[in-house]
């Protein structure tokens, strides 16, 4: 094992973890306002495919980025309308979004599967992802709007009584989460791969979801957690280099098991739970009640 190898591996970790940071930080903000969106995987795939198709058709990176973002706004807007205005079950709606997104992306992308493109350098996005985490951290703890988001997520009835618009706040956080997920998808199909393949996000949406819990809803912990998860995934691919004789699947399941342990740890104590998880997470809000 030499220094080039270590630097090479660190570089791969940096490049492969970024989508987790994007999707995770978006979902963190959504959950902070009390909404659980299980649709990440679907949002990422649709964001990936719309960006890719636009790039192939127009050859313009800017247009492709914009369209990918628009896809996130539309899909998460539908999700927001269902769970906020029609008060549907968040779990079922999120799963529907994932299933729909998997199907839609595969259908749209069929003709473009295997088309070669010139990828974008991942390093811009890596820098943006770091800035994003710090801005979200600042936003949630230091700005008035951020405190409103948290108030809405902790107790929507009190927030309403104080005169804050719960539904409007949640529309913003859901759409922010949706856009971040499509950016994660865009990054995967344009920078990381760069290509389109059915189901190419390969479960990263679910890992991002685990990541938010693992980070106990704190932005800077999310960044650390993302790099732990990303590092473990890369280690699994380079086991021989590390001289490890364990089955690779153990590394693959580690993020999920670590999240389970964190979840048990924070939930087993009422005070700890109150300090970590948004109290109104997944609780429907009825305006007229």
């Amino acid at each position: 094992m030499n220094i080039e190898l270590i630097i090479g591996i660190l570089n791969i970790v940096l490049i492969s973890t970024t989508p987790l940071v994007f999707a995770g930080i978006g979902e963190l903000v959504t959950e902070k306002s009390g909404v659980l969106n299980l649709g990440l995987e679907g949002l990422m795939l649709v964001g990936a495919v719309t960006g890719f198709i636009t790039l192939v058709l127009t050859g313009n990176y800017f247009y492709s980025l914009i369209l990918s973002i628009i896809s996130g706004v539309i899909l998460s807007g539908i999700f927001a309308f269902l769970v906020l205005n029609l008060m549907t079950n968040q779990i079922a709606t999120g799963l529907a979004l994932t299933i729909f997104g998997i199907g839609l992306s595969a259908m749209l992308g069929k003709k473009f599967s295997g088309t070669p493109i010139e990828g974008l350098s991942p390093y811009y996005f890596i820098v943006i992802s770091f800035l994003l985490v710090f801005s979200v951290g600042y936003f949630l703890s230091k700005t008035k709007s951020g405190l409103i988001v948290r108030a809405v997520g902790e107790n929507h009835n009190s927030a309403y009584a104080l005169g804050y618009n719960v539904i409007k706040t949640r529309y913003f956080t859901i759409i922010f989460g949706g856009v971040m997920s499509s950016l994660a998808g865009y990054y995967i199909s344009i920078c990381y791969a760069p290509m389109w393949q059915e189901g190419m996000t390969a479960g990263r949406g679910w890992i991002a979801l685990a990541l938010v819990v693992f980070a106990t809803w704190k932005p800077w912990r999310l960044l650390v957690g993302a790099y732990i998860f990303g590092g473990v995934a890369i280690m699994q691919m380079n086991l021989q280099a590390f001289g490890v004789e364990l089955p690779g699947q153990i590394f693959n399941m580690m993020p999920y098991i670590a999240t389970l342990i964190v979840l048990v740890f924070i939930s087993s104590n009422k005070v700890r739970l109150k300090l970590s998880a948004p109290s109104c997470l997944n609780i429907p809000y009825e305006k007229n009640s």
């Binding site: 659980l36 299980l38 679907g42 539908i78 269902l82 029609l86 008060m87 549907t88 079950n89 779990i91 079922a92 709606t93 799963l95 529907a96 979004l97 994932t98 299933i99 729909f100 997104g101 998997i102 199907g103 839609l104 992306s105 595969a106 259908m107 069929k110 059915e198 479960g203 679910w206 979801l209 685990a210 819990v213 089955p247 699947q249 153990i250 693959n252 399941m253 999920y256 098991i257 999240t259 389970l260 979840l263 048990v264 939930s267 087993s268 009422k270 739970l273 998880a277 997944n282 007229n288």
Partner: protein
Amino acid sequence: MQLREDYSNLIFYLSPLVAVALTLFFGSFIFLILDLSPIESFKIFFISPISNSYGISELFVKATPLAIIALGLSYCFKNNIYNIGAEGQLTMGAIFGGGIGLLFNDSTSVFLLPLMILFGAIGGAFWASIPAILKTKFNTNEILTSLMLTYVALFILDYFVVGPWKDPEGYGLPKSMPFPDAGRLPVLFDGLRVHIGVYFATIICFITYIVYNKTLFGFKLKVSGLSSKASQYAGFKYNNLIFYTFIISGACAGLAGLFEVSGPIGLLYRDISPNYGFTAIIVAFLGRLNPIGIILSSLLIALTYLGAEDAQLFLKIPSAVGFVFQGLVLFFLLGTDFLNKYKVSIE
């Protein structure tokens, strides 16, 4: 907008039909965008797959696991407990039951299959008991734990089929040896794949109907689903209810997993389930958590799987189009529920 006082049973059972109609309406737009004639496409999607005996058999092959899992899930959902890890419980059932089949791979005993079925149910129940225990002992959110455990189970299956259980004569492919004949689920008709799992689904449906309508347990589920506080006030042990409903739904999912591997598949490999565990959640909601409704909705959703396969073959569109329809139908169903709960008036 105000809450409905005259809660309507008619609208409650009619809204799935409205959701299906809306899905077809939007689906025809999708076909138009893809430059396909909607009528021809719907024919290929929904009618031609079941226009012969082979197709009808396949419909039941797909509907059986969906119905069994969704029936199990209905116990949890009625109790307002969100077990969304049925896919993992299905996988664990396949590992446990399938493991027995591989352990006794030279057996010709008539007891082998019943033992596999038993272990399939135990495997699923065991995997479901983890979120149940975490929920009751540590107050852990069951939605997140059951979801995380799904991925753990999938990696465990992956480990077995590329590791210790890999078929030495399988050309290095990640799959196990085939189960012995004694460990295969009997088919109902020669030459067709429909198997005795259909009987199990029917029996589970019947038992569930009785439990929901005629037993104290069913009544407790209903009460605690409406208000867990009321159920605790009435002296029902809420934690026990959580535990039992998880075990029942896990056992059903495990059973479905074992039926898949010992029925149509005949061995263990990575992709034993095309998302049955997640799709069954749609089936349960679409069937209104009603046992007979679930049977009907499982047949409908099974048709989206078959239609998608035919669409890939004849229309050259990816079979993932089936997921688009599944997602749409759930969106519309959840949306129409709103009209069920609220009166809308334009102010």
